[in-house]
């Protein structure tokens, strides 16, 4: 007997077993994707009230998306892209730099730094939300007010412990010989970093890229604190204000929700392998 899985289900070939499998897997797919498919279908249908939310296509219409324009939905979408664009760029740069130090250098205080990185993962934004809003309103020493600025939504996501740790683990595996060879050839620190280490870490860049994207895209509390003017709202926090509309009912909300969902789903489907890799690296901590 051969086993490809713990239950050994695939070795049962009878018609009853096949039918049972079909039903179970079918139910699973429907249960987990149903709400998302429902959103997709309903966003393109006339959806006047919550009871017309449906899995079955009604008459196709783009009305919801047109109305969404009047409600500033595309402005919110643009805000989201600005925050995620700059935020992700910053986050990846910061992670790669920090990982280079942690993976390729030996220095006094490294253990402490490592512990600090781990400690930040124990400090999710929710726990420090209130004091963070005070700090953002008046940065110590610099005395800048970041409330109501894009920087206030971008800088706090700039350093993420998860990305740094994933990157560090990966960089440790780059053979030390390559680095030494370059050093003997007289290459400087930045040159080694930019031309040898970073290019070899491209797979890990994919991992922290896709995780960083979904992490920043999903930010809620931070923009809620920072974006005081509605013109700065990101799409997720704007959804609440779109709940009801006299002309298209919940249509605008559905269109906006779909726009809020699609980018991270697309990012996941496009970078699936990197995503699974990051997930199973055992370091995912919020």
């Amino acid at each position: 007997m051969r086993f490809d899985s713990a239950l050994g289900l695939e070795s049962r070939k009878g018609p009853l077993a096949v039918a049972a499998r079909f039903v179970v897997y079918g139910l699973m797919v429907v249960a987990f994707t149903g709400p998302l498919v429902g959103l997709l279908v309903s966003a393109f249908s006339k959806t006047l009230d919550p009871t017309s939310f449906t899995l079955w296509p009604d008459e196709f219409t783009l009305e919801n998306f047109i109305q969404a324009g009047d409600k500033n939905v595309y402005l919110y979408l643009l805000n989201s892209f600005v925050v995620v664009g700059f935020g992700l760029l910053l986050q990846m740069l910061v992670s790669v730099f920090a990982a280079y130090a942690l993976a390729r250098k030996k220095f006094r205080g490294m253990t402490v730094v490592m512990l600090l990185m781990l400690a930040t993962m124990m400090l999710p934004e929710e726990i420090i939300a209130i004091p963070l809003s005070l700090v953002l309103a008046d940065l110590p020493v610099l005395h800048l007010n970041l409330i109501g600025t894009y920087a206030g939504m971008i800088l706090p996501v700039g350093a993420w412990g998860f990305s740094i740790l994933v990157m560090t683990e990966f960089m440790k595996e780059v053979p030390v010989e390559l680095e030494e060879a370059a050093r003997i050839d007289g290459a400087g620190e930045l040159r080694i970093f930019a031309t040898i280490i970073v290019p070899l870490c491209r797979p890990a860049l994919g991992v922290i890229g896709v995780f960083g994207f979904t992490m920043i895209w999903d930010q809620y509390l931070l923009p809620l604190i920072v974006a005081t003017e509605s013109t700065m709202w990101t799409l997720p926090i704007a959804l609440r204000s779109l709940r009801s509309d006299e002309e298209v009912g919940i249509g605008v909300l559905l269109a906006a929700s779909l726009l809020a969902l699609l980018p991270s789903i697309i990012a996941f489907l496009a970078f699936q392998r990197q995503f699974m890799r990051g997930l199973t690296s055992g370091a995912v901590k919020g």
């Binding site: 086993f3 699973m28 709400p35 910061v94 800088l155 809620y220």
Partner: protein, 309 residues
């Protein structure tokens, strides 16, 4: 700075130039590369944490200046009925979501394990909830929870002959409804991690057990589950911590209502801090949440260690 120092060193002692450069290159370069991360962490993690701890000891007043109140804010939290209820709701929600997702996730992982192509499709499809934007799915679920007879979930349970439920609209079911959505989103995540754990189980053990005539149940009980134990504890800790600090789900679905029946710690802290301007009490609430997270992590780590030995 690096270059001036190295150049100075090189000028005074040419033979030691290499060693000198290497010494500076190591630690100093390391700190320079770390600087952006440390600076950002300092400003947006550590300083807020200290500020939170500090402000939790004050009655924070914007124009009158802060007034030292010692541990009064904490006393308020412990004695206040709203806080007690919120803490209880957070714990129930965290535990329910965690256990529900773990059990379902494990069951589904066992069902969809295997190399077949269609199983890959099922896994990918089922995983989608995990990567969705919380605020958007919560809006979708809020619509599905519509309490009228023709609300989507009520129609579905109607097929099974169950009476329509009020879901989010009732004090008795609001918390459970939120839990249902959280389990929906948490299960596929746990499933994927369990699947990764299942890959590591030695196939020859299954074969040996089958040759010995062990039933499927015994095989699971004695080979598969023990191999998954470390994965289980990691997932439990992560999910419980995530569950305790839940915010978006509740904020979007019910905002704590009706009648505070689904108020959790974070929604209460948010309201106190940003709507009632009770920043001191809200900061203390954040510290309590942090301590709860810390205690939970330590307990689980200790249990794990005891089980391992």
């Amino acid at each position: 700075m690096t270059s001036t120092v190295t150049r100075a060193g090189a000028a005074t002692a040419p033979p030691r130039r290499r060693a000198q450069r290497a010494r500076w290159r190591g630690p100093l370069a390391a700190w320079l590369f770390l600087a952006p991360a440390l600076l950002l962490f300092l400003y947006f993690k550590f300083i807020p944490m200290v500020v939170g701890l500090w402000k939790s000891l004050f009655k924070v007043q914007t124009f009158l200046g802060d007034e030292w109140v010692g541990l009064d804010n904490y006393r308020t939290i412990i004695t206040d009925d709203l806080f007690a209820a919120a803490i209880w709701h957070s714990v129930v929600l965290a535990l329910g979501t965690t256990i529900g997702s773990l059990v379902l996730g494990l069951g589904l992982a066992l069902l969809v394990e295997g190399p077949a192509r269609y199983l890959w499709f099922v896994r990918t499809a089922a995983f989608l909830p995990v990567v969705t934007t919380m605020a958007a799915v919560a809006e979708v679920w809020r619509i599905m929870f519509h309490p009228a007879d023709n609300g989507m979930l009520n129609v579905i349970i109607g097929w099974a002959g169950v009476d329509p439920q009020p879901w989010l609209a009732s004090e008795h079911s609001s918390l459970w409804s939120i839990m249902l959505m959280s389990v929906w989103r948490g299960t596929p995540y746990d499933m994927m991690i369990f699947l990764a754990g299942l890959v590591g189980v030695d196939r020859t053990l299954y074969e040996a057990a089958a040759v010995d005539g062990a039933s499927t149940w015994r095989r699971l009980r004695h080979i598969t589950l023990p191999a998954l134990r470390p994965v289980f504890w990691i997932l439990f800790t992560l999910a419980a911590i995530r569950g305790l600090r839940v915010f978006v789900e509740v904020y979007v679905l019910t905002n704590g209502g009706p009648n505070n029946s689904s108020e959790v710690l974070m929604t209460l802290i948010y309201k106190l801090g940003f709507q009632k301007n009770e920043l001191g009490v809200a900061s203390a609430g954040g510290i309590v949440l942090f301590l709860a997270t810390l205690v939970l992590t330590v307990i689980v780590q200790l249990m794990r260690r005891r089980q391992a030995s």
